[in-house]
Every structure is written in structure tokens, then in C-alpha cells.
């Protein structure tokens, strides 16, 4: 499928060895096109700094001119929520453990050739899966909230050279906030499919929905978390 973006390096099938669906592929196209420029720009910016770039404070309000700066009470009224955790912490504490519950709700273990099917077996187990699905859907809203830091202050890449540093992730998000939000909205849409399956107690539909969720997770991660090219393995 040819990209509609007209970006030559990104428009060939070779740019999509990971076979995204038609819905996800345009998002990946956009970020494959802009990522090198943004990362290069971020690298230049940070190379010019004498020390490590400070993490944006989680609850730091957007910069405003002195004339328009509201009183603290007004600012609190404008954004009544309080940003405490970073995106990394939201992912680790809210999204990841709960999407694992949704994924693991339906699975098969083939033990010595014998298939053992696991699926919610009663109302309580379906309710547990539902709670986690709702948590992920609403948790995606947390990811979209402006002003949230990427990682705790002072934290670096969890895997330097493979996964981006928080400043680089920040630069990517800031370069296209709408794209970031679109990935989060896609996550919500995919988990809503799982939620519908849960409400119908349809284990097959829930299992299929899990695949769609994985696709959008991986697509977002390859744009914002570890966008480098796939490693070339040794010839065997």
C-alpha cells in the first residue's frame, strides 16, 4: 500500500517491514518522516548545553506573559487537575499492568500437545477484565494531558543507545502533539473494542481485540520510544 504522504523514503513497502494495518500505517508514515529531523534537532540543541537538560516539571504550567499571568487561584481553576506522575510512570503503573490483564484474560496454553483454554469463567472474572479495560481507556487520557513530564526528574533512557532519552521523547511529542494524541486515541479505540467484547462476554472477540491493541502499542513505541532501525542480524 503506497503512502499518501509523498515522503519518498517512507512511501515504499520497504519502509513497513512490520506490516501495520491501513489505520495505523499513516501515523507511522508521518513520524518516520519527521523523526530523523526532530531527533537531529534535539541532539544539536542538547549538544550545546553544558549539563544534562532538566526534566520538565510534571505540574509546570505553560509559560505566559506577565500581563496575562493569572493569579494562582485562577490558574488552579483553569487546570484543576494535578500532574504528579510522568508518562513513564503512567505507562508502568496504569497502562502496562492493566493491559496485561486484558491480554491475559484469554489465552491458550498448549501443554504437551494438549490445549488448555483460559478465559473469564464467571461474572467476577469478566468484571476484573472490564475494570482493567476501563482503566487503560481512561489512562490514555492521562497520557494526553499537556505538561506531563516524560520521565521522573533526572531519569535517563532505560536502555541508552536503543531507547530514546526522555529529552528526545519530549522533543518528538512537542514536535507534533496532535500525532501523540492520535496514538493515545487509537489506543482508546482499540481497547474500546475489547471492552465491547467483555460486555458481550465474547472471549474470541476479546482475544482478537488484543491483537489490535498490540499493533497500536508497538506502532507508538516505534515512533516515540525506540524509533531506530531494526538491528541487522548476523548472516547464518
Amino acid at each position: 500500500m503506497k503512502s499518501t504522504l509523498g515522503c519518498a523514503p517512507c512511501s515504499s513497502e520497504l519502509a513497513h517491514p512490520r506490516r501495520y494495518s491501513a489505520k495505523v500505517r499513516p501515523l507511522v508514515d508521518i513520524f518516520r518522516c519527521v523523526t530523523p529531523a526532530v531527533v537531529f534537532g534535539a541532539a544539536c540543541l542538547f549538544a550545546g548545553c553544558s549539563g544534562p537538560a532538566p526534566e520538565p516539571a510534571a505540574a509546570q504550567p505553560a509559560p505566559q506573559s506577565a500581563a496575562s499571568k493569572p493569579a494562582p487561584e485562577q490558574a488552579a481553576a483553569a487546570t484543576p487537575y494535578q500532574l504528579v506522575a510522568s508518562i513513564r510512570e503512567v505507562m508502568n503503573s496504569v497502562i502496562d499492568p492493566n493491559i496485561d490483564v486484558v491480554w491475559n484474560a484469554v489465552r491458550t496454553v498448549i501443554d504437551h500437545g494438549k490445549s488448555i483454554e483460559y478465559a473469564p469463567a464467571n461474572d467476577e472474572e469478566w468484571a476484573a477484565a472490564r475494570r482493567s479495560a476501563v482503566t487503560v481507556i481512561e489512562g490514555a487520557n492521562l497520557l494526553m494531558m499537556p505538561g506531563r513530564s516524560v520521565a521522573p526528574a533526572g531519569a535517563g533512557s532505560l536502555s541508552p543507545g536503543v531507547e530514546l532519552a526522555p529529552e528526545e521523547v519530549r522533543a518528538l511529542i512537542d514536535s507534533n502533539r496532535a500525532g501523540w494524541n492520535q496514538f493515545a486515541r487509537s489506543l482508546q479505540d482499540r481497547v474500546k473494542v475489547a471492552l465491547a467484547a467483555i460486555d458481550k462476554k465474547d472471549k474470541d472477540a476479546l482475544f482478537e481485540a488484543g491483537d489490535g491493541i498490540d499493533e497500536v502499542c508497538e506502532a507508538c513505541h516505534q515512533v516515540y520510544w525506540y524509533p531506530g532501525p531494526a538491528a541487522t542480524g548476523p548472516k547464518r
Binding site: 489465552r107 501443554d111 502499542c217 548476523p234
Partner: protein, 143 residues
């Protein structure tokens, strides 16, 4: 009945504990693309699950000891697209898996190609793996 439930919890807990803590990660963060492995052994269990499936393979070491490998492979939908089905895993079957060694866990690997004794082979690589041509080496149908 209570004992049966208790055993069920134990078994489920064991399988649950066997899965890595993080659902997603960059391939290069966890696996070493310069450390290819060819593992031949008995397929004990297969966890057919999202977002990754796992093959648990027992191989025999040179000293005669059995080594239990956990091999991360693709999600079920991707495995199906490449022709691999749940019924292809039979009791006591031996198989060869081409894989990459994990950087820290000596019993963990990332599978690329599954070769069965009947001559069929399947691409089992998960998203984000190295461009090593494993997909083109698969022959999912009997010759």
C-alpha cells in the same frame, strides 16, 4: 475440589510467572542480535497469548543436563498469518528454533524460525526483530 482449585491456581501462577514483566520493549534492549542460537529440543509448553507467545523448549546440554528455554515469539495472529497453528504443537514433539540470546537471562531467547521434523518451517519472529532474512527462509507447507 479445594485441592483441585489450589493446583489450578498453582499451575496458572506458574505460567503467569513465566512471562516477562514488561509487555513491550525494544528488541535490542533485551536481546543480542550478534548472538544467534540454534536450539533443538522437546517442546514442553506453548503459551499462545498476546502480545507475545512463548515456546518452552527443553534442550539437552553436552553434559547431559536438560536446559529449559523460554523463547519469545510473535503474537498469535502473526503466527497464524505465517501458517503456524496451535494443532502443530503435539505431545513430545521435537523442534529446532533459530533464535537470539537474551542479554541478561541465559535461558531466555527471541525466536525467529521454527523448524519441525516433517520439514515445515515457520517464521515466528516478533515485531521489531533484526532484518536477518528469517522470514524468507520459512517453508510452512509440506514439500
Amino acid at each position: 475440589m479445594k485441592m483441585k482449585t489450589f493446583l489450578g491456581v498453582l499451575v496458572l501462577g506458574a505460567f503467569g510467572a513465566a512471562k516477562p514483566g514488561f509487555a513491550h520493549h525494544a528488541f535490542a534492549a533485551e536481546y543480542d542480535a550478534t548472538e544467534p542460537l540454534t536450539l533443538t529440543g522437546v517442546v514442553v509448553t506453548v503459551d499462545w497469548s498476546n502480545p507475545h507467545s512463548y515456546i518452552h523448549l527443553d534442550t539437552k546440554e553436552k553434559n547431559g543436563e536438560v536446559k529449559h528455554w523460554m523463547i519469545e515469539i510473535a503474537a498469535p495472529s502473526q503466527l497464524l498469518r505465517h501458517g503456524l497453528r496451535k494443532v502443530d504443537f503435539t505431545d513430545g514433539m521435537t523442534a529446532t528454533v533459530k533464535a537470539y540470546q537474551a542479554k541478561t537471562d541465559p535461558t531466555l531467547a527471541n525466536g525467529r524460525l521454527l523448524e519441525l521434523k516433517d520439514g515445515r518451517s515457520f517464521y515466528i519472529g516478533s515485531v521489531g526483530g533484526p532484518n536477518d532474512g528469517a522470514e524468507t527462509q520459512a517453508h510452512p507447507f509440506l514439500q
